[in-house]
Amino acid sequence: MKDERLTERSVDMKDIKIAARGVQVYYGDTHAIKDVDVEIQDKTVTAFIGPSGCGKSTFLRCLNRMNDTIDSARVEGDIRLDGEDIYDPRVDPVQLRARVGMVFQKPNPFPKSIYDNVAYGPKIHGMARNKADLDDIVERALRRAALWDEAKDRLQAPGTGLSGGQQQRLCIARAVATEPEVLLMDEPCSALDPIATDQVENLIHELRQNYSVVIVTHSMQQAARVSQKTAFFHLGHLVEYGETGQIFTNPRDTRTESYITGRIG
């Protein structure tokens, strides 16, 4: 525990975008996230790693209050976006989510056309003055998500008729189309081939110039490639959080080490 604090201190120089303190999540009686403190920096890619079921998605969903939609879920603790408590009753979760976008673990396109899937966010946020604007936004988002070539001839076809990987990219396009300040991506490349993965990673790099990105991934290589900071979760605890390089080369916690070297799952 101590060293985690230390780690945190060492990064305090950069702007802190999201600060979570003492976060607890319960699903009914199950304690899924146990007292997690973490600070997510601005203009940084943070990777969440950890074995399946350790609570990565759960924690991620806390950051834009998507857990509100799960009846049984209960969140405690303090999470601040730019210093403002996002669980404050005065906070409008809608506004929060407009600023903190999300790509879900399971691709969930709307049962609408590909175009409408991407255009939906920009439309409700008033990002386009006219149809041409909107077309531009959609094209740009699809290009960034590396789907444009496959989708350009079938923009009016339903998004649910895409292949698994295509759906995943569609959801990425949908999320980036609204240009959120923070983008939470829950295993965004799980169904993608190496090339598409590469393109999405490039996108992440690009986003980092202005925004901050949190990515959940099971691929150590990917975490190492794209992220500057890495958080390792295990059984609901945040075991270790620090510079990615340090985590992968010189983990302080034995559990982290075991996981990275492939000994615990």
């Binding site: 998507m66 989510r97 709307f110 049962p111």
Partner: protein, 450 residues
């Protein structure tokens, strides 16, 4: 290809071939077949029941769309119709239909004489009953509208009496007439003779659709005009109120209401409203809309409001079920791009729930269209002969309704009304089908799998 096939085949036969079902598979397959068969039987039962009911309705009611008319010249003598002789409508109005009735019988007698029709035992009194009593009113209206026609002979097309009409349609026969105190065999013979001479003819009965109801003595003149208008007005009210209110209430309960005791109570309450006998809604309507709010009686607005309250639970139950069935992942997706709850509901969930909502509407409206009991207490189960005005005033005028007309006619003593009632049911069903067509088409287009 054949080559590869030969190559590809393993040496021994596989343990179980997919071409030959295993015993267990056979059993399961049989179960599958049975299951599907049950489904088919169920659909067939439904459709057969419909076909059976429809044929019986059509069989009994189609003849209502035809009407026997008598075309004879009627003298309009000035001495009876305008005793003062100055063609003043106000004076002529004092001559009642009672004075017009004999003219019709006389005209018939003239025709018989002119055509030299001889029927044994034909009494003079038989002539009066041969033509509808409506004829006197028809003539009087004509004369009051055209005072100058007095003194001339009018080529009139008059309604034949109910039983004569029945004879032409095969409902009344010589045998039944012999037993019937309201028609004589001689009258039927006269009908035959007149038909031969070309005075009697059968034509499509527009009046059945446009004319108002008639009293118990004139089944041949009874029509559905007022009832159709009344039902139409009521359905407008129901559609305009029940659908939006029902959908709004469902959205609140399903998507926004905090899940607590109170909403549980509300939920149970609404399902319970569906079980309230419809006549109780009549009691409610009388108490609230007429006695408390002072709305007029027998008015489509009140009927529509009562039926709205009655239909709401149906629409709410259907809508809630449809909303519940939309997968939560779609809501998440919308919320995830920063849509508000309200937007996620109106942009995504509601459109996907639309088929279910439309089903609820179809069933709710069908129920509302066919309901009589609640109208009983608010004065719409009534004999109404005046057409309601055009909307919006018409909503407040007395009117009846199609199911009411069916109900009333089935209660009348003259068997000719059985035919009318069945005819009214046909009109009601046509009305229903027309009303539902939009919903059905829309539903079909909106159905979507995910």
């Amino acid at each position: 290809m054949t080559d590869a096939q030969a190559d590809g085949r393993p040496e021994g036969r596989p343990a179980n071939s997919i071409l030959t079902p295993t015993r267990r598979m056979k059993r399961r397959k049989a179960a599958e077949k049975r299951f599907k068969l049950y489904g088919m039987i169920a659909v067939t039962v439904g459709i057969l029941a419909l076909v059976f009911l429809l044929t019986s309705i059509l069989g009994r009611g189609l003849s209502a769309f035809e009407q026997t008319m008598v075309e004879i010249p009627v003298e309009l003598p000035a001495e009876t119709l305008d005793p003062e002789g100055n063609r003043d409508p106000a004076e002529m109005q004092r001559v009642t239909t009672f004075s017009y009735a004999p003219l019709v019988a006389d005209a018939l007698a003239d025709v018989i004489a002119a055509e030299a029709i001889e029927i044994e035992g034909l009494e003079p009194s038989d002539l009066g009953g041969f033509i509808s009593q409506e004829a006197a009113a028809q003539l009087r209206n004509f004369v009051l509208a055209n005072p100058e026609a007095v003194g001339t002979t009018l080529e009139a097309e008059l309604l034949a009496g109910g039983r004569i009409d029945g004879y032409m349609k095969g409902r009344v026969t010589m045998e039944t007439a012999a037993l019937d105190s309201n028609v004589s065999v001689e009258q039927l013979r006269l009908a035959d003779a007149l038909e031969e001479a070309g005075y009697l003819k059968t034509s499509f009965n527009w009046d059945f659709i446009t004319a108002p109801d008639a009293s118990d003595q004139r089944p041949e003149a009874a029509g559905l005009g007022v009832a159709i208008l009344g039902s139409f007005y009521m359905m407008i009210v129901v559609l305009v109120l029940a659908l939006p209110i029902g959908v709004a209430a469902s959205i609140y309960l399903e998507e926004f209401a905090p899940k607590n005791r109170l909403t549980d109570i509300i939920e149970v309450n609404i399902s319970n409203l569906a079980a309230v006998p419809s006549i109780v809604f009549g009691i409610l309507g009388l108490a609230i809309f007429i006695n408390f709010m002072g709305l007029p009686q027998s008015a489509p607005i009140v009927g529509g409001l009562v039926l709205t309250l009655m239909t709401l639970p149906t629409i709410i139950i259907a809508t809630r079920a449809a909303l519940k069935a939309v997968p939560p992942s779609i809501r998440d997706a919308a919320l995830g791009v920063g849509a508000s709850k309200m937007q996620s509901v109106f942009h995504h969930v509601l459109p996907l729930a639309m088929p279910g909502i439309l089903t609820g509407t179809i069933i709710g409206l069908a129920q509302a269209l066919g309901e009589t009991a609640p109208l009983l207490l608010i004065g719409m189960v009534a004999f109404v002969r005046e057409y309601p005005d055009a909307p919006p005033e018409g909503f407040f005028d007395p009117a009846s309704a199609l199911p009411v007309q069916v109900y009333n006619w089935t209660q009348r003593a003259d068997p000719a009304f059985v035919e009318r009632a069945s005819g009214a049911i046909i009109v009601l069903l046509v009305f229903l089908v027309l009303m539902n067509t939009v919903a059905v088409i829309l539903r079909r287009r909106l159905e979507r799998r995910w």
